[in-house]
Amino acid sequence: MTDDPTRLTLAEARDALAARSLSSLDLTNAYLAAIETARPLNGFLKQTPELARAMAGKADQKLARGEGGPLEGIPLGIKDLYCTKGVTTTAGSRILENFVPTYESTVSSQLWRDGAVMLGKLNLDEFAMGSSNETSAFGPVVSPWRKPGSNASLVPGGSSGGSAAAVAARLCLGATATDTGGSIRQPAAFTGTVGIKPTYGRCSRYGIVAFASSLDQAGPIARNVRDAAILMTSMAGYDPKDATSVDLPVPRYEAAVGASVRGKIIGIPKEYRIAGMPAEIEALWHQGIEWLRDAGARIVDVSLPHTKYALPAYYIVAPAEASSNLARYDGVRYGLRVPGRDIGDMYGQTRAAGFGAEVRRRVMIGTYVLSAGYYDAYYVRAQKVRTLIKQDFETVYASGVDALLTPATPSAAFAIGEKENDPVSMYLNDVFTVTVNMAGLPGIAVPGGLSDDKLPLGLQLIGRPFEEETLFSLAAAIEQAAPKMELPEPWWAA
């Protein structure tokens, strides 16, 4: 074991804690110190050191009595979209800058139930609307990755950019994240980490600030597949407080890591071979296919004919739901209030000042596509296209395919500011991930290798509904075969 406990994976730390060769307090302090040195990354919006030490102290007591839970003493970061009792929850927005929930999200409460320690709240795109973490009202997150020989700040991806960056920079053992159109998988791919978006309904949405209700899902970002599986088991489960959560038993996902994938049928959707796809992405994809074939999987070509419509349909459905979900931010019961001439003016001023440009843009689009005379042409049509997208997957799965393999993103991470003025080109980041949300399916991003610029590239596996275990097995096989992803050394601490 190394002297620096932040080098341990979650599974290793768990075992060391259980063996009492490491205390949670020492581990937690090491992370708190790492977070302090990482301020330039802007990954944490809020640090909770006192809370962390108190939780760690309790965890050590439990571990000493042999009563530790599955995550006892494990320090985690929480995406600031999850409401945390007594701890400011901003959703990355001015409008919630001073909001202190009196309640805890179900998913985070399950992590605390299992013994995890909260280090603080992680930066994100405002209301999870973004693919680069640049829409956060509290400044962008800087990726721990840089091109060799360059000082240019790169984006960590979004919207769970703080989560991905914190995990990649070893500022926490794992982090919660959310994925509406790719917000777990795209930042995981950009930062050389593992992120899984489970099947819609697998995790409770209770207490997670809503972006687009029919697409949002919670999931973890972790340093490897096993760690992600461990976190997933604690996060998943039916919640009577979320009518869309599904009452199915939660497997011990870790058991699927390392399980044989021999005989699994992997579909390669030809529609993901998009025009202008960089050669390195194409090469990565081929490499992934070879790795799975070598592991004993059978590779078949499949077709998902409506793939190219997923992104445009998403950019109708998600803003429509968001425009309604964000109506509650009106300056009456919580959050920012800007005085106005009258109540209507107060609403207008509050929301104009409280929401950033991207959120305003999406609320406007969403309002428009739902408005009288446009609803059928936009919203209803998009939901019909969504049905077709889902049917594409159903057809493929009915033919016996167990999972699909695709690239996670169309490129490696880009520079902060590079796509700022072009919303549509920013939206294209989600081109490979968004279909999964539209169909409610599980998807995992796993590192596949480095780009020509020595930046991480990820592969995506898409599974059948509620068959996350298959994804963990396949992702572990890729992880096993791929060159080990060495996380960046902490240049930011210098």
Binding site: F99, S213, D242, S323, R333, L370, S371
Partner: protein
């Protein structure tokens, strides 16, 4: 049954007008907790006390549907002889208002839980007309804003926010103020029978949006105005009347009706435009993504149908056929379920077989008069069905006269609340004198002391009444009136 007399037309300066009324009734569902949260529905609590995080639309809060409210809506649908939709769904109606915390009302726009039905309305006990029901749907109530507490501020209380409402939409089948009142009266009666709404209009449990238009008989429908939130049956009648008069005056002046939302001001006896509601609304309805479609099976509906109470129409016709009541008496008795039950309990008291019509007369007569005077329902007084039954039996068997029975009831009301009428009669010696010897003696005495009256009576037989009165007086009202009559006729030679 249709009632299309010219009596329903309104006379204008230039001829007759027909009023056309349709109504949207908002009926609060009788339930312990709210439609989508576990907060209490109890009336009259401290501000914001019966409010959950869901009702206050805190970030990340989700609605979970109350199964009892679903059952109540189905039961109401069955009571309205309406189509029950085994699959329905919830939509969001988006608008901003300080007492609407989510920024949308969850309602059922596209697929309501109950479809078309019908109400038979009693205009008089023998005159009925039908009102078609277009639909019934479930939706959330809003909170309450107090506007008159301060010159500059409104105060918002969310206790009502999220309470379940049934919106019952009628067809425009109503043709007068009286019909409008009768419709609401009947609907309220049905809801109270079903126990699905307490119908308490003072507490706002039942409110009507009244759509009024006028036209020349036989012409197509005119432009309507919606009079919002009328909260008493009397006001509903007044609102229809004054709004129709207002519209007729405008039309007869050559003007046109603006389709608008108006408010009825009972103190001024007029309707006025609600300018705040006039800005063009665009509610942007779309399916609530936090809720899955609501589905249930035939068995669910059948179980509820089997447990449905007998409803007023069925009860009334049964009372007429089974007990030989007049339609008038039957409709008085069925107006309240408790009253009808009281009547049937009195009829059924052992030994059975008493004259139900007499029972009905006593209940709707003296007992009801006492109940009214004390501001209660008959069933809420201390007079028991058993006491009424015994009173009727005592008359029927000739033990007391109807007049003495009134005295006995008076004793039950005031002095002898818990006594059996038979015991009162015995104890107080009120038993009717049927002994002809005793009556003959009394007659002889009176004839002997009033020879002039005897002569008068023999000339003018209508004088008989005077003698009857004297005999009754001398026997303390206990003489059997029939026997007195018979003996007097013989002795006077009439």
């Amino acid at each position: 049954m249709a009632n299309t007399g010219s009596d329903r037309l309104l006379r204008g300066a230039t001829g007759d007008w027909e009023v056309v009324v349709g109504m949207e009734i908002h009926a609060q569902v009788t339930s312990r907790s709210k439609l989508f949260s576990g907060a209490s529905t109890e009336f009259g609590a401290e501000p914001n006390s019966h409010v959950s995080l869901v009702d206050a639309a805190m970030p990340g809060m989700l609605p979970v549907l109350n199964e009892a409210c679903v059952a109540q809506a189905v039961r109401t649908g069955l009571g309205l002889k309406a189509r029950i939709n085994k699959r329905s769904s919830f939509d969001r109606k988006n608008y901003f208002y300080p007492d609407l915390p989510q920024g949308y009302q969850i309602s059922q726009y596209k697929s309501p839980i109950v479809g078309e039905g019908e109400v038979t309305v009693d205009l008089t006990p023998t005159e009925q007309f039908r009102v078609g029901i277009e639909r019934l749907h479930l939706e959330q109530d809003a909170g309450k804003s107090l506007h008159d507490q301060s010159p500059t501020a409104s105060f918002v209380d969310l206790n009502r926010s999220g309470v379940a409402l049934m919106e019952i939409v009628s067809r425009p089948d109503i043709r007068s103020a009286d019909e409008a009142k009768a419709y609401v009266t009947k609907l309220r009666m049905i809801l109270r029978y079903l126990g699905t709404c307490d119908g308490d209009m003072e507490k706002g449990s039942l409110r009507a949006d009244v759509n009024v238009s006028v036209r020349r008989p036989g012409e197509p429908l005119g432009t309507r105005c919606e009079i919002k939130n009328v909260n008493s049956i009397r006001f509903i009648g007044q609102a229809v009347e004054v709004e129709a008069r207002r519209q007729i005056a405008i039309l007869e002046d050559g003007g046109a009706i603006d389709q608008e939302t108006r408010l009825f001001d009972p103190s001024r006896g007029e309707t006025r435009s609600m300018r705040s509601k006039e800005e063009a609304h665009d509610y942007r309805y779309f399916p609530d993504p936090d809720l899955l479609p609501l589905e249930f099976d035939d068995a669910f509906v059948e179980t509820l149908a089997a447990a449905l109470p007998e409803l007023p129409d069925a009860k009334k016709s049964r009372f007429v056929t089974q007990y030989g009541l007049t339609p008038y008496d039957a409709s008085v008795l069925v107006a309240e379920r408790e009253l009808a039950d009281y009547f049937e309990a009195a009829v059924a008291v052992e030994p059975a077989g008493r004259d139900a019509k007499l029972v009905a007369n006593w209940i709707t007569g003296d007992v009801a008069a006492f109940a009214n005077a004390s501001g209660r329902g008959v069933a809420d007084t201390h007079i028991t069905p058993g006491q009424v039954a015994e009173l009727v039996d005592l008359i029927a068997e000739g033990t007391i006269s109807g007049k003495i029975a009134k005295d006995v009831l008076a004793l039950v009301i005031r002095e002898e609340r818990n006594s059996k009428p038979r015991e009162i009669v015995e104890r107080r010696g009120l038993r009717q004198v049927t002994d002809t010897g005793a009556i003959e003696a009394a007659v002889d005495t009176i004839m002997a002391t009033n020879p002039d009256k005897v002569a008068q009576a023999q000339a003018k037989p209508t004088m008989l009444g005077w003698f009857v009165g004297q005999v009754m007086k001398s026997t303390g009202g206990k003489a059997n009136p029939q026997a007195v009559n018979d003996i007097l006729r013989v002795k006077l030679g009439l």
